[in-house]
């Protein structure tokens, strides 16, 4: 259904709420669509499609004055009275001429589109696409089912006053996980190893689905320790590689992260946060692993930590993570969470020319013609040439022990000092110079500045737009480490000028506010914390923000 709206040119935002079980439980999607760009879920609901009774009890209170609850009394085993209820006998319609019960879904979708006054042509195209593999007969049956549902709604929904004709060019619909996948594939990622863990399994699925088409080798590792070690082995052998996990799996990867640093082997790690400690709430959301991602692993070394706020940012930042990780030979972490991983957004397209690909490896002729080679040669930038083993006549030697320029293990103090200076002191300032500053949305002279990082972007941005008249602006951070300086944009001046600075985070201990203070000395005047595992809905956040506007 969401795809129909997107193809009709509507901006769509979908958020998923599901329990950690395979069948049953109360699960829902919220689909919001609009003719203007949107980036959050709202509390009021116009149409509830109730597939179980809890949908009715949970959502009735959020129904708008003219809202409608669509249900099938045959599925719910009960009829409801009241002007807001609309009984669509989808199972009965689907099975009318011996059709299959599964098509009740198609009937229901047809009915809702009928209620909204949306023509069926786009849905019919979507059905043709989805069932292409199943053959013409299945497509035809589904189209008939959709038409019957549509007609039923046109005739029987007396309260339906919606009219949602197509508004423009089709938009693409993408979730955060797939966006990371797109960014990775476009960055030349050729090897993805992971152990399944919500909320990052979607990346593994996406990469596997593109394996044949784009030549990506995807391996389900025996555990996360293997996953990161595989990613490092693959990179050493000559291709770009990546792994993805959640906090628990990342905990197992930590020694490997340190190995990446010591051997200067690039790796990109997608870390999808979920409420913890331990197993926590597997299918829910939190921003509780920021400081863990920043400080995980023994030893001192530079790393890259990016936290996209939307699928679009995820595409670009995944690319930037690959580019910087390979340019500087340091590990990069893309920090998302269940909310961003699973929400779907619409866009006109992405500017794929903004996704550079530079092969930093020394390979082929460039390597075979070198008179000598040292994997960890001291250079002004701290970056040593990284050759592809086998391409040239010199062996490539990497070591997790402290090592000399050739990669062989050493004990002496002088070489140790030199290597620390190379890996850390020389690279870090160069890496820091590549970091983009946070983005200000709104007036630089705002009295109130809301601060957010990562996935709070969408909901806070919509909220801030509504509070603009009351002097609010928003500062959003995505490139978190190395922490952005003020050379390119003096965001600290804006924060210092504001009367109120409120940091909005989905965790209990204001990890970003603390990081900001540690890196810049700036203390926010207030924080808003949410740690119930559920994302902010627009109205709820507005309520909280209002309290700070004074």
């Amino acid at each position: 259904m969401a795809r129909v709206f997107a193809r009709a040119g509507y901006h769509v935002f979908i958020h998923q709420d599901y329990e950690s079980r395979v069948r049953g439980g109360h699960n829902f999607f919220q689909i919001r669509f609009s003719d203007r760009p949107i980036m959050a879920s709202r509390r009021p609901i116009d149409i509830v499609i109730a597939l179980d009774r809890p949908s009715i009890t949970n959502d009735q209170e959020n129904l708008t004055a003219s809202g409608i609850i669509v249900y099938d009394s045959a599925i719910l085993g009960q009829t409801y009275d009241g002007p807001e209820f609309f009984n669509v006998p989808s199972v009965e319609i689907a099975t009318e001429d011996g059709g299959s019960k599964i098509m009740a879904n198609t009937v229901a979708t047809g009915a809702v589109l009928g209620m909204l006054g949306v023509e069926l042509t786009i849905f019919e195209d979507v059905l043709k696409g989805s069932f292409a593999k199943k053959g013409d007969a299945v497509i035809r049956q589904n189209i008939v089912a959709a038409r019957r549902g549509h007609e039923f709604a046109r005739h029987h929904c007396t309260r339906c006053a919606f009219s949602a004709a197509a508004v423009g060019k089709p938009l693409l619909l993408i979730d955060g996980n797939a966006a990371i996948g797109v960014g990775a594939v476009m960055s030349g990622c050729k090897f993805y190893a992971a152990y399944p863990m919500t909320p990052s399994t979607g990346i593994l699925n996406y990469m596997a689905s593109k394996s044949d088409q784009y030549g990506i080798l995807v391996e389900q590792a025996e555990d996360e320790i293997a996953a990161i070690n595989m990613a490092l082995g693959a990179c050493f052998a000559g291709v770009r590689s990546m792994t993805g996990t959640a906090g628990g799996g990342f905990a197992l990867m930590v020694e490997g992260l340190s190995l990446a640093a010591m051997t200067e082997t690039p790796v990109v790690i997608a870390l999808g946060q979920r409420p913890a400690p331990a197993t926590g709430l597997p299918t829910r959301t939190e921003q509780g692993d920021l400081l863990f991602a920043l400080y995980a692993a023994h030893g001192e070394f530079p790393r890259i930590v990016f936290a996209p706020g939307s699928p679009e940012q995820a595409v670009y930042l995944t690319n930037k993570a690959f580019e910087l990780s390979h340019k500087y030979q340091v590990p990069a972490i893309i920090l998302t969470d269940q909310y961003l991983a699973d929400t779907q957004w619409t866009y006109g397209g992405f500017d794929l020319s903004r996704l550079p690909y530079t092969d930093y490896r020394v390979r082929g002729e460039a390597y075979s013609s070198l008179p000598e080679y040292k994997r960890y040669a001291f250079t002004d930038t701290g970056i040593s040439p990284f050759a592809v083993p086998g391409d040239g006549p010199h062996p490539v030697v990497a070591d997790s022990d402290e090592h000399d320029e050739e990669g062989h293990l050493i004990e002496d103090a002088e070489t140790r000092r030199g290597m620390i200076e190379k890996r850390l002191y020389r690279k870090l300032p160069l890496l820091r110079a590549e970091i983009a500053p946070p983005v200000l949305y709104g007036n630089p002279d705002a009295q109130t500045v809301f601060i957010a990082w990562g996935s709070q972007y969408g909901v806070l941005r919509e909220a801030t737009e509504r509070l603009q008249e009351q002097g609010a602006a928003m500062l959003h951070f995505t490139e978190l480490y190395p922490f952005p300086g003020t050379e390119k944009f003096d965001y600290l001046a804006i924060l210092r000028k504001a009367r109120r600075t409120v940091c909005v985070e989905q965790n209990a201990t204001s990890q970003f506010a603390r990081l900001l203070k540690a890196e810049t000395g700036f203390s926010c005047s207030a924080t808003i914390n949410k740690y119930d595992g559920r994302p902010f809905l627009l109205e709820d956040l507005l309520g909280e923000l209002d309290a700070h506007l004074g």
């Binding site: 193809r7 050729k190 293997a226």
Partner: protein, 284 residues
């Protein structure tokens, strides 16, 4: 073709008389006989006395973490199956810390050769028991002797139908060279458990102890006979056979992936402009 001089590495920091010297000698000889120059083979090692091994010769080297040689080696083989990949590990390294990876390397049957320097003790950390230490062995942390039965890696590998299962002895480098060559030439996962005297910490399983027990499997021994192999694998006491105990020809994982059937992944080009033309189609 490399000469011994081409394979000269750093000066080993092993104790004089350590079994690792015999393994190093056998390895260099195998490289010479296989005509593999230093850049034509990759050795992945872990941490322990055996982990230092590749530094003492010349080869592409990834000296990674304790216990984690096999995932690194597996990925290397998947990315570049034209390159022979050898993993060098200690008994603590790969039967203890990295046991899980061994199980899965055998299951995948990745075309990697694993040479385990099995000294039945933790050498680098100065003499604790390892998974292959014999029952009753006294160590600082086992004042009453080791109370568990040792792992028999040959029986373990055989039970998982590992495609090449061999036992070697550091005191018989000539024989070990042959085993190493056979393992590297074998298409599939090959395990050689190499009995390696640790002259400093293992005062039970000494050269003398092995000399009384170790014997070569004869030419009439058929390594494809699994039942007989099980018997030989279990033989570890008064008599210890060395040689190829078991071999089968299960197809290696890297031969079963269509994506890399014709060209190694590392040689497959990436064309960003081509990918850009289609990658967003799924989302409309």
């Amino acid at each position: 073709m490399p000469t011994l001089a081409d394979l000269e590495g750093r000066i080993p920091a092993w104790c004089p008389g350590c079994g690792n010297f015999g393994i190093l000698r056998a390895f260099k000889q195998a490289m010479i006989e296989l005509k593999l120059s230093p850049h034509e083979i990759t050795v992945v090692s872990g941490i322990g006395q055996s982990g230092k091994f590749p530094h003492y010769t010349k080869c592409n080297t990834f000296n990674g973490l304790h216990g984690r040689t096999l995932p690194v080696a597996t990925a290397m083989k998947l990315v570049n199956h034209a390159m022979p990949v050898v993993a060098e590990a200690g008994d603590g390294d790969c039967y203890g810390e990295g046991g899980n990876h061994l199980l899965h390397a055998i299951r995948r049957n990745i075309d990697v050769s694993l040479f385990v320097h099995d000294n039945q003790i933790y050498g680098l950390t100065k003499g604790q028991a390892s998974p292959t230490s014999m029952e009753g062995m006294m160590t600082k942390i086992n004042p009453h002797g080791v109370v568990c039965e040792p792992l028999n890696p040959m029986v373990f590998a055989l039970a998982l139908d590992c495609s090449f299962v061999a036992r070697g002895y550091a005191g018989d480098s000539e024989h070990l060279t042959r085993l190493m060559k056979a393992a590297i030439n074998h298409k599939g996962f090959a395990l050689i458990d190499i009995l390696q005297p640790c002259v400093t910490f293992n005062l039970v399983n000494t050269y003398g102890w092995f000399k009384q027990r170790v014997y070569r499997l004869g030419d009439d021994y058929d390594p494809e006979d699994k039942e007989q192999a099980l018997q030989k694998a279990a033989e570890f006491g008064d008599r210890i056979p060395i040689g190829i105990i078991y071999r089968n020809n299960r197809a290696p994982m890297n031969d079963r992936i269509p994506l890399i059937a014709s060209t190694p992944l590392v040689k497959q080009p990436f064309e960003p402009l081509e990918v850009a033309q289609t990658i967003l189609n799924d989302f409309f």
